[in-house]
């Protein structure tokens, strides 16, 4: 079942268009990878769906509901939850407090926290530590846990492995895939470790200069002979 449907999306910052005419779908329980060279507009596309960057044209619907007129907070409440690449935790709060504020306005905060700890058991070990004092991998895990506190339908994840050691890259992507499968989440992920992401995603889109230049089954895309050239932006 299609969860996110994006059609002819134009997006950017101010009046400057970075993403041009993008179509994409994400189904419930599906992990879709967005790959492409630096500056292709991957993160901007994610931010536009989340309400952080400006949508200049086209449509974006979640479960049939129009996301475009909604501010970022309302899109999160509607189920489209964004996990930014950087500064994705409240450094001065404890991990437990980070989780609690991420379920603002909900009455079942404790239940949600228990559910998230059940999904990401490692969090339980540092629940009462100050988030700013955690390692890079732990911080990314807390950022993910915070996003999950909103009980999202769709998770928009921007480079979750940035700054992580190669060992942790695979772990993080495996966790995301498991979440898509077990928690029935739709996940749209932008990932710099393209091959690692394609090994785990169901489908992928290659974005170059704001346009989708290739789309299909992730594993097949990774094996295409011109994949490297596409990833590095050499479309010829």
């Amino acid at each position: 079942m299609t969860l996110l449907a994006v059609r002819s999306l134009e997006a950017g910052y101010g009046r400057t268009s970075v993403v041009r005419g993008v179509d994409l779908d994400v189904a419930q329980g599906e992990m879709v990878a967005l790959v492409g060279p630096n500056g292709a507009g991957k993160s901007t596309l994610l931010k536009a769906i989340a309400g952080v960057a400006t949508i200049l044209g086209g449509t974006a619907t979640l479960d049939g509901a129009d996301l475009v007129p909604l501010p970022a907070a309302a899109r999160a409440k509607a189920g489209a939850v964004f996990m930014p690449q950087e500064r994705n935790i409240f450094r001065t709060l404890s991990v437990a407090e980070n989780l609690a504020v991420s379920a603002w306005g909900r009455r079942d905060v404790a239940q949600r926290r228990n559910d998230v700890v059940a999904l990401l058991p490692a969090i339980g070990d540092y629940l009462h530590k100050r988030a700013g004092g955690l390692s890079g991998g732990q911080r990314q895990m807390v950022g993910l846990a915070m996003a999950l506190m909103a009980r999202p339908k769709l998770l928009l994840v921007d480079e979750p492995t940035a700054g992580l050691s190669p060992l942790l890259v695979g772990d993080m992507l495996d966790i995301l895939r498991r979440l898509a499968e077990e928690a029935e989440l739709g996940i749209l992920i932008v990932e710099q470790n393209a091959r690692a992401a394609l090994q785990r995603a169901g489908r992928a889109l290659v974005l170059v200069d704001g346009h989708v230049v290739r789309t299909g089954e992730a594993a097949r895309l990774a094996e295409e002979p011109d994949f490297g050239a596409l990833f590095f932006g050499e479309t010829a």
Binding site: A73, A76, K77, I89, L93
Partner: protein, 285 residues
């Protein structure tokens, strides 16, 4: 010992306002030099309710907190909110200008006369050789209660956690679905109420002077900087440090230099420990 008690009284007066100052700094990243102006508003609001309308001082104190919250809330809505996103320097200059406007409005409404609360005259009581007035005890108790309440609010309530989250990372707070403008408004009202409380406490321990503004602004800012900008507990500790330094100056040098203590403390802290006692470490540029 007597000096410590006097320092505690001085600290108790400025501690609530210093906490309000640091709360506004962490939320909006500007130093509000109009803090003393809002303290003066609180002092005159409490005087009006107590001496003019005959309300008991504790009730006048709550009224002053409401007046401080209202005055600061209104100024934030009309002056500071339209300038959100501008540099801290711009907002600092605007706050200085606002403080002069407030000072002159108070002079226009109440004249230049120094006033005092309508309280029964009581003599000091002696505890272990230290003389202390009932007013001083009330000032310290009210200030401690306010400091503890704000500390509890910030650490043990959802609103407090949300305030700290917005102060830490406003854009992430928006992404996580927090109603940022409403939370900021709560922070402004709390800070305004704390300014109003400091105004009442000044009236209880000293006198109510329309020229109060700058006499309290510098110690308030010094307390917040000494304690570490962004730390309400630090602001309270900083207030005690400033109070102690002021009383020591008055005792061992001359009371004339008491007003310079705040400036000296700011300079020393910025040179020796820019993050203050409890603030997060800052990078020198």
């Amino acid at each position: 010992m007597q000096m410590l008690v006097d320092a505690l009284a001085s600290a108790a007066i400025i501690a609530p306002a210093a906490i309000g100052f640091t709360l506004i700094y962490t939320l909006f990243r500007y130093a509000n030099f109009a803090a003393g102006g809002f303290v003066t508003v609180g002092a005159f609001a409490a005087w009006t309710l107590n001496a003019f309308f005959g309300l008991p001082i504790w009730l006048a104190g709550f009224g002053a907190m409401a007046a401080g919250a209202l005055a600061f809330g209104l100024c934030d809505r009309l002056v500071f909110r339209p300038l959100r996103g501008r540099s801290g320097g711009t907002l600092l200059l605007v706050s200085i200008a606002l403080s002069f406007v407030i000072e002159n409005i108070i002079r226009f409404c109440f004249g230049a006369q120094i006033r005092g609360f309508d309280l029964p005259l009581t003599g000091p009581i002696e505890i272990a050789g230290v003389r202390v007035t009932r007013e001083t005890l009330a000032v310290v108790a009210a200030s401690a209660a306010a400091t503890l309440s704000v500390g509890l609010l910030l650490t043990a309530t959802p609103v407090g956690r949300a305030l700290r989250a917005v102060a830490d990372n406003e854009s992430l707070a928006q992404i996580r679905g927090l109603p940022v403008p409403r939370i900021e408004a709560v922070g402004v009202l709390i800070a305004g109420a704390l300014f109003g409380l400091s105004g009442t406490l000044i009236g209880l321990d000293l006198t109510i002077d329309p020229n109060l503004n700058w006499a309290v602004t510098i110690p308030i800012i010094a307390a917040a900087i000494v304690g570490g900008l962004g730390s309400p507990l630090g602001a309270a500790i900083g207030a005690f440090g400033i109070g102690l330094a002021e009383e020591a100056t008055a005792t061992f040098l001359t009371p004339t230099y008491k007003g310079a203590v705040g400036f000296a403390a700011i300079a020393l802290v910025l040179i020796l420990r820019p993050q203050g006692l409890l603030g997060d470490k800052v990078d020198r540029k």
